[in-house]
């Protein structure tokens, strides 16, 4: 895995910290021109009632990369993730300011149709949450609500999505059974398959392995590596080793602020902020 990701990282190197050597800055920024962003966040602030949960967030998320968001509990990492598909609005007292653009469209505008955004941006939750329906119906739900009714096409979508989430072989003989008969790890991959079924551009993952055992976690991590070829992935994780293993870029959140955002290698080997170093070395959090 390491050999696979290392060369990529060199190419994608992007400079945020001013402490970088100037010669390197020139070289890397030039290379970065080719790397497209899917999300640009500018001066994002978010309040839950009177609680200031996100403070002046500026972040760009790049296409076909895995971006990990780490930080201690309550630092705003899940909130930020949910802002990216506006699920955060389900909390009644939420207020935002600032701009998030998704492919040059400002998504926080009330005029922006949130259903369109969520059709393009899938989400996988902390706890597996398949619908209490058959495995087949779980996967077909997304395509169906978006108007795909043809049985043959649906069959194809279901198979393709389940293969995409590398769970097809385990469930192909029991598609009519309730998804809740599966193990937690399988359920989570069903949820990933459900998300793939509408072929989104981005997949947001909110601690997708925190409710899974180590073996299932490994499978999901391998899956994320696979999915990276076709999807841009943003993953919130408590597990720093996981961030180091699977992500190309890591953002460290603390008390609602982005302390450091850089490529994963740099964050874990040579962080520029002391607080990042303290956190990744386990001194707090």
């Amino acid at each position: 895995m390491a050999t696979l990701t290392k060369p990529n990282i060199k190419v994608k190197r992007q400079v945020i910290s001013e402490e970088e050597a100037t010669s390197e800055v020139a070289a890397t920024t030039k290379q970065n021109v080719h790397k497209k962003t899917v999300y640009d966040t500018k001066d994002l602030n978010l309040w839950y009632g009177d609680t200031h949960a996100l403070k002046d967030i500026n972040l760009s998320i790049y296409e076909k990369e895995v971006t990990a968001i780490i930080g201690p509990s309550g630092c705003g990492k899940s909130t930020y993730l949910k802002t990216l598909n506006r699920m955060v609005e389900l909390v009644p007292s939420v207020k935002t300011s600032g701009v998030i653009t998704y492919k040059d469209k400002s998504i926080l505008d009330k005029s922006f149709k949130v259903e369109d955004l969520r059709t393009k941006v899938g989400m996988v939750f902390q706890k597996p949450n398949p619908f209490p329906k058959s495995i087949y119906e779980n996967i077909a739900y997304g395509p169906k609500i978006h108007g795909i009714r043809n049985k043959k096409i649906l069959d194809e979508i279901v198979e393709k999505s389940l293969r995409g989430a590398s769970i097809w072989d385990e469930v192909k003989d029991r598609l009519k059974e309730n998804a809740y008969g599966l193990s937690g790890g399988q359920q989570q991959r069903i949820c990933i398959a459900r998300c793939l079924a509408i072929e989104p551009d981005v997949i947001l993952m909110d601690e997708p392995t925190s409710a899974l055992d180590p073996k299932s976690t490994l499978r999901v991590e391998e899956l994320i590596q696979e999915l990276k070829k076709d999807y841009s992935i943003v993953i919130v994780t408590h597990n720093m080793q996981q961030a180091a293993r699977i992500s190309d870029r890591t953002a460290f959140f603390l008390n609602g602020e982005v302390v450091e955002y850089d490529e994963t290698d740099k964050i874990f080997t040579n962080p520029s902020d002391n607080r990042t170093e303290d956190y990744i070395s386990g001194r707090f959090g």
Partner: protein, 318 residues
């Protein structure tokens, strides 16, 4: 610290000593501990013995009735003339009246009840829900005799204003009012079922780009279906057993008809009429009371069993 404790112990008895003293002193506690469960069992048994007693009485008198009237005549007869010179005891007019009034009631209560539940659980703000739900419960607390008068003195004249051919006593008006009476029951039970669908499921669907309506009708309602169907069956069972509204507003003609503008009698209304003094003990008409009551009992029993079966069968496990 350890030293401090030792000094304390010398001054007063230890906690353990105090507990032991208390335990030895009161044998009463252990007796109460043994007696209470027995007492509770006896109290719980009251309802069981009552049920057995009622069923036993019903059965004995029903058997007596069927000694006088053949079973087939009772269940297939379309004429019910208990007071005529040649009395006939066909129960079909009563069953027909019961079923028709229940269908009318459910046509009102079903859709309105479930839509109310959808509104309360998915759309209403916390504030609106807190005001509306108690109001629904007040509706459920109105005595049925009030509903009966409401049907007879308000709803029927209103219907007759629009459709003058409707009789002064008819099955339509009490059916509709019975529906209104059942709305709170269906709304409240269905709302409970929908509210208990985990939010994670709604979020899962919303994250796929589903609209609120799609989430409600294609995730929440299917997931809550067992509870919703159970509320329907309980509603039907309530409609079958409802007495006062139909007695007051539907008259006592024992027509076997499907015309809802006419007067019909339900099983319950028949029992009210007959037990109202016209039946000397030991007469056939007196025993017919029990046969009808038995039929009614079997009906509601079946409905309750159906409710239990359905709520198990349609449960979407989550």
């Amino acid at each position: 610290m350890a030293l401090d404790n030792k000094i304390d112990n010398q001054d007063k008895p230890s906690i353990q000593d105090m507990i032991a003293k208390k335990k030895n002193g009161k044998n009463l506690t252990s007796i109460t501990e043994k007696v209470i469960p027995v007492l509770l069992f006896l109290i719980a048994a009251v309802s069981i013995f009552t049920t057995i007693g009622i069923v036993y009485t019903l059965l004995i008198e029903t058997i007596e009735f069927f000694k006088r009237v053949p079973v087939m005549d009772f269940f297939t007869g379309t004429a019910l003339k208990p007071l005529s010179q040649n009395p006939e005891f066909g129960v079909l007019p009563l069953i027909n009246g019961t079923i028709i009034s229940s269908i009318i009631a459910m046509l009102v209560a079903g859709p309105i009840g479930i839509m109310t539940a959808v509104f309360l659980s998915e759309y209403a703000s916390e504030r609106v829900r807190r005001t509306l739900k108690p109001m629904l419960e007040i509706l459920a607390g109105i005595p049925t005799i009030v509903y009966g008068f409401f049907a007879f003195t308000f709803v029927t004249p209103l219907i007759r204003e629009v459709f003058p051919s409707v009789e002064a006593t008819n099955i339509l008006s009490p059916g509709l009012v019975m529906g209104v009476m059942i709305i709170p029951m269906i709304a409240s039970l269905s709302e409970d079922a929908m509210t208990s669908v985990p939010n994670a499921m709604r979020e899962g669907a919303l994250a796929l780009g589903a609209t609120k309506l799609e989430v409600t009708f294609r995730v929440v309602i299917p997931a809550a279906l067992s509870g919703i169907i159970a509320s329907f069956v309980l509603g039907i069972s309530r409609a079958i057993g409802e007495t006062m509204i139909v007695t007051i507003a539907s008259g006592s003609s024992k027509n076997f008809t499907f015309d809802i503008t006419q007067s019909m009698q339900t099983m319950t209304a028949y029992i009210v009429e007959v037990s109202g003094g016209e039946a000397p003990a030991g007469s056939t008409i007196y025993f017919s009371l029990y046969a009808v009551a038995m039929t009614l009992f079997v009906f509601t029993l079946l409905m309750n069993l159906l409710a239990r079966y359905v709520s198990r069968k349609f449960r979407e496990e989550y």
